[in-house]
Amino acid sequence: MQVAIQGPWSPLLGRLTLSAIPYTNPILVGTFAVAALIALVVAGAVLYYKKLGYLWREWLTTVDHKKIGVMYIIVGLVMFFRAFVDGLMMRTQQAMAIGPHSPGVLGAQHGYLPPFHFDQVYSAHGTIMILFAATPLLTGLTNVVVPLQIGARDMAFPYMNALSLWLTTAGAILVMLSLFVGDFSSAGWVGLIPLTELPYSPGVGVDYWMWAIQISSIGTTLNAINMIVTIIKMRAPGMGWFRVPVFTWTTLSTNIIGLTAFPILGVVLALLGADRYLGTHFFTAGNGGNLMLYTNMFWIWGHPEVYFLVLPAFGIFSEIIPTFSEKPLFGYTTMVAATFAIAGISWAVWLHHFFTMGAGADVNGFFSIATMLVGIPTGVKVFNWMFTLYRGRLTFTTPMLWALAGLFLLLVGGITGMMLAIPAINYTVHNSVFVIAHFHCMVLLVAAAIFAGVVYWFPKVFGFQLDEKNGLMFFWSFITATAIVFTAMFALGFQGETRRLDYIFNPAWRPMLWTEEAGMMLYLVSIFYFLRMLYVSLRDRVPVASDPWGTARTLEFLTHSPVPFYNFAVTPQVNARDELAWRREHGLDKAQPEAFEPIHMPSNTGVPIIIGMLSLTLGFGLIWRIWWMAGFSLLAIIIAVIIRSFDKNLGYELKPEEVAAMERNLATASIIAEQPARTPLTEAEAH
């Protein structure tokens, strides 16, 4: 049953040999040097400041939704940077390799990347941006914000929340590992079939791609379950469904998509894995395999995934625009209905990713109309935001600017999307960079929402604001760069440039390609300002009030900044849709609870990170076909789960005096403060 593979294999190391380490490639050696240096500096700093114990006790074993959210965001930002560098490498290659006389360096005939390496770069760029940057960043934001916004102490399943994080991190580490051990898939982020099959991709690249996504998507599915249960079961008293903030609504809808779409991705990758490892014929070219089965199944996940990303972004806009317009959100009910309409239609549009399959006019017509229908609820949302802005008292803070820029990107991305929904146009521009420019407008809208959300909620978590001056520079350089790169890309798409080109045969495209490269340089400037924003804010640390913006409307800004690790000393009673705005209007926003009460908290546990790291070795063992390693890891995961099920830890209790002391001195309760060891409750105390 097990498939014969090319090349050497040994029982101890599987396919792993010294030649898998790309020490001859100067780009990867340089990357490794930089990565190793950063790792050494971080590890050295942790050891020098004697923070190893703190790191383990307070972060790596935490079950606090805010810390988990922050770690998701850190993972997401690191991966975002990595995938940006991939993008920069692609643009640079295309700016260099124009025409037959363009020089080549580093072993490439033209430019500096040989085709095999270039293919890996674009495959990694797409895979990372969608699954290891945007997804963790949004998951992180929802993890931090949603429990606060609904007045809960934590997520419904804090332990499973940590598990989701470490599974996602394990996937991200696998992708990074592929840089230095072996290589990554060169078959595109969608896994072009049958190129991903063993005869055409005999290396480990596709296995890296497949297992990294598989492991992290289990994490995403678990997180979706957690979020849905949290939102349904843990809302503060008084928060009926029509008092739920819109960001929480969009998180609910997005996680319903996540819960229902990610299993299909799991299946399609598992079937591909069966083809590659067991020699089955699901998607092979011959022996009864069906190529379009793969493509359909991939996009049955793939399109809902797009809305999985964009709906929380819409939710962030729906929080920020009312706050900085000093008005309630226009058309709350229609906003919620539109959210669920988009989520529903997301299931009936997948075929527009391959109109050229040749399914015929009826099928294409159906999916074309379904795709255009998405424009209706999205239009409702845009008009709701516009009417919220209309005659509002606008303040152009950085989050607001990001949100408004997001609306412009939505307009451009949405209208080009409507063009692409028409099969006749789609046939013409299919596979051209016009499509790339379209969906980059959409995902950069998500990026804009993420930056808006990070700036907006950062002071809530850490108790100080991000520097506005550098934040504005970051915003303007980023948005200008986006405009430059993708305007040029739309033009190139109309001129017929197809995607994924490692060599540009038409010198007439040179001006536009160089324009794109100039835009990429501006993105580098924006990264400088982003880092400077972080540096200046961390240096100055200007403390803020519980509502740092002064006009926020929802429950998360009712509790203190920095938010104590127990969220709310006493659970608030919700009286209105925009609870904080309602309290402020009636002069109640400074009201404090009369007395404190004991708070029951879950204890930290090391099991999630252990399972996460075991799934990393499981993935590594499977990728390199080191069977003992994979088998041992799988067995160890099962044993860890069973041992954990015998755990009798009932959590611990904060005494009212402790809570009162922490409420007086918030620094001792913030998520960066170190907590003393607390004894778990006994069976008798718990009842």
């Binding site: 049953m1 809960a152 419904a156 399943f157 599915t221 979706a224 379950i225 957690n226 849905i228 249960v229 349904i232 079961k233 843990m234 503060a236 008293p237 008084g238 008092r243 819960l259 229902t260 990610f262 299993p263 299909i264 799991g266 299946v267 399609v268 079937l271 069966a274 083809d275 067991l278 020699g279 089955t280 014929h281 699901f282 092979t284 022996n287 009864g288 395999g289 069906n290 089965l293 199944m297 006493v570 659970t571 608030p572 009673q573 009286n575 209105a576 849709r577 309602w582 309290r583 009636h586 109640l588 009201a591 609870p593 009369e594 007395a595 009460e597 099962i638 069973i642 099920s645 015998f646």
Partner: protein, 208 residues
């Protein structure tokens, strides 16, 4: 707007001693959602099976009509339904608080599940011996993977039951143990439902 009523004398701003959430009901809902995702996993496998169950997918090899045996499958169905019935009797015993009853029900449930798996392994090994392994055609790939994924669910269910057989005497009927027993009941009925769908779609419809 009704939601924007002005505060009055009875307005509460805080809700001390709010329980937050009911542990077991949150866990049950979470488990239902997990089963939804698992059902979608099977949807994907059924989809692949439906697409590949035709002469083109079989690539010259057999299709369902030539290899499935609805009579033998019937015995398997009896075994799996019997196993569910035994587990249901275990939960009746749980209501009465009888540890022996619960454990006896689980043991019978495991035995019947093993009978089912015995049939299945025999069935699949037989096909492989005839040269109709999962690596011979697209259709057989889909057939084997669909059946084996269901079988794998049963193996995990059996593992879960064995863990419960240890936990019931050691931990007693603690809230955690009871919640696990109830979730396991849902899981066991879920896998049986999947089997019934497999039986109807693959064995009965497939036989004609």
């Amino acid at each position: 707007m009704a939601t924007q009523a002005a505060p009055g004398a009875g307005t509460r701003l805080f809700h001390p001693h709010f329980e937050g959430h009911d542990q077991i009901s949150a866990r049950t809902l979470g488990f239902w959602l997990y089963m939804l995702s698992d059902a979608l996993l099977f949807t994907g496998l059924f989809l692949a099976y439906a697409v590949l169950n035709n002469p083109m997918g079989a690539a010259g090899g057999p299709i369902a009509t030539q290899i499935v045996n609805p009579v033998e499958g019937m015995w398997q169905t009896y075994a799996v339904l019997g196993s569910v019935a035994a587990y249901s009797l275990a939960t009746v015993a749980l209501k009465k608080g009888s540890m022996v009853g619960v454990m006896a029900g689980i043991v019978i449930s495991i035995l019947l599940a093993l009978v089912f798996l015995g049939y299945e392994v025999h069935d699949l090994m037989g096909l492989m011996a005839q040269g109709h392994g999962p690596d011979s055609s697209g259709f057989l790939s889909a057939f084997f993977v669909l059946i084996a994924t269901h079988g794998l669910h049963m193996v995990f269910g059996i593992l879960w039951m064995i863990v419960m057989l240890v936990q019931i005497p050691t931990l007693g009927f603690s809230p955690n143990v009871v919640a696990r027993l109830l979730n396991l009941r849902m899981f066991w009925q879920f896998q049986a439902t999947v089997w019934v769908l497999v039986y109807v779609y693959v064995y009965m419809i497939g036989a004609f």
